[in-house]
């Protein structure tokens, strides 16, 4: 009798759809938890990731098998990145009004965010692989993962660093900005979007619509600039 149970368990956990099943389930649970509580710590990606890892560990499955099973889902990451061009285009009018302030802040502060992250990690003695995965930490995860992969880091690590950065930025960001006497919605939004990407943008939307629009703008521009320039910088430096 116990033998049959074992076989059924094996058939279930090694089915090609098992990975997709637990991912969909974990995501919906995480979304429901986030929508009910609106608690910044409960970022859906973070919670789903922890849930899926927990299930995989309990079932004794490795990442390689899981990765093969969710390939259909991962394949959509490319078209989703392409789709980011649409919100960017829709925000063009706002860019024109504050063109120079946005451009200067974006370039100076964006460079600072990236260089400071990698520089401090180097100073604290982190490994090369870690540095390369950390460099794109301030941009939204699909771009960060692509860029990390391109410059020789690990996409999964980049995603984790992006998440940590975003969640901390969303939690402390508004209070830090208030302390620095930053009050214009465009300035608050831009700062949150540059340093804390999508999570920061979600937080900025809670402040006001204008603040959110600038955060979304900063996030997409920061993503494009990082995607274009960071691999170039690495090719030139190394």
């Amino acid at each position: 009798m116990s033998l049959e149970w074992h076989n059924a368990w094996q058939a279930l956990t090694h089915h090609p759809l098992f990975g997709i099943g637990i991912t969909l389930g974990a995501y919906q649970l995480a979304m429901a938890a986030y929508e009910r509580t609106r608690w910044v710590f409960l970022q859906p990606v973070l919670v789903s990731m922890l849930t899926v890892i927990g299930i995989l560990l309990i079932c004794g499955l490795g990442f390689t098998e899981y990765k093969r099973s969710v390939e259909a889902l991962t394949l959509l990451l490319g078209p989703a990145t392409v789709a980011l061009a649409v919100p960017l285009f829709l925000n063009l009018r706002r860019i024109r009004q504050l063109f120079w302030p946005i451009l200067i802040t974006l370039i100076v502060a964006g460079t600072l965010a990236t260089a400071l992250g990698a520089g401090l990690a180097w100073l604290f003695g982190a490994e090369q692989l870690m540095l390369k995965s950390m460099a794109p930490k301030s941009v939204t995860s699909p771009i960060a993962m692509l860029v990390a992969d391109q410059i020789g880091g690990i996409a999964a690590l980049a995603a984790v660093f992006v998440m940590i950065t975003g969640v901390i930025g969303a939690i402390v960001g508004p209070s830090v900005l208030r302390l620095c006497r930053v009050h214009h919605p465009a300035a608050v939004g831009l700062a949150l979007g540059i340093s804390a990407h999508a999570v920061g943008t979600a937080r900025a939307l809670q402040e006001s619509d204008e603040c959110g629009a600038f955060a979304a703008l900063a996030m997409s521009l920061m993503g494009v600039i990082t995607a274009v320039l960071l691999p170039l910088v690495f090719v030139l430096l190394l």
């Binding site: 991912t23 969909l24 995501y27 990606v45 973070l46 789903s48 990731m49 890892i53 995989l56 990442f63 969710v70 990451l77 490319g78 989703a80 392409v82 789709a83 980011l84 061009a85 649409v86 919100p87 960017l88 285009f89 120079w100 802040t105 502060a109 965010a113 400071l116 992250g117 990698a118 520089g119 401090l120 990690a121 604290f124 003695g125 982190a126 870690m130 950390m134 995860s141 699909p142 771009i143 992969d149 391109q150 690990i154 996409a155 999964a156 690590l157 995603a159 984790v160 660093f161 950065t165 830090v176 302390l179 620095c180 214009h184 300035a187 700062a191 494009v224 995607a227 274009v228 691999p231």
Partner: protein, 119 residues
Amino acid sequence: MLLRGLSWLVLCQLLGTVLNALLLPMLPGPIIGMLLLFVFLLVRGEVGEPLSVASSSLLKYLPLILVPPAVGVMAYASDIAEDFWAVVGALVLSLLISLAFAGWLMQRLIDRQQRREEV
């Protein structure tokens, strides 16, 4: 509608992949695709219905698409544990400094532009 928009997105990415292989090895294919689509929208001047439907539905599920790559961290748990404090310290410090600096700089630049417009 959704399918036609999706086809556009896939087409842009495939073109991006071709360009990546031919001319621009340092830029990822999807990023080139995004730039191509952006230029296309600039030339056209508006976002068509199919493209708008496809991009908003895809971006709505972006967090879900990001879950599998994020799970990949379980394969690198020991690497992170080794450099834990260096990593966390660098992340938190650089975030706080760059966040405050970005806000301060933008606020200064906006104030300056507004003063100039009043004069």
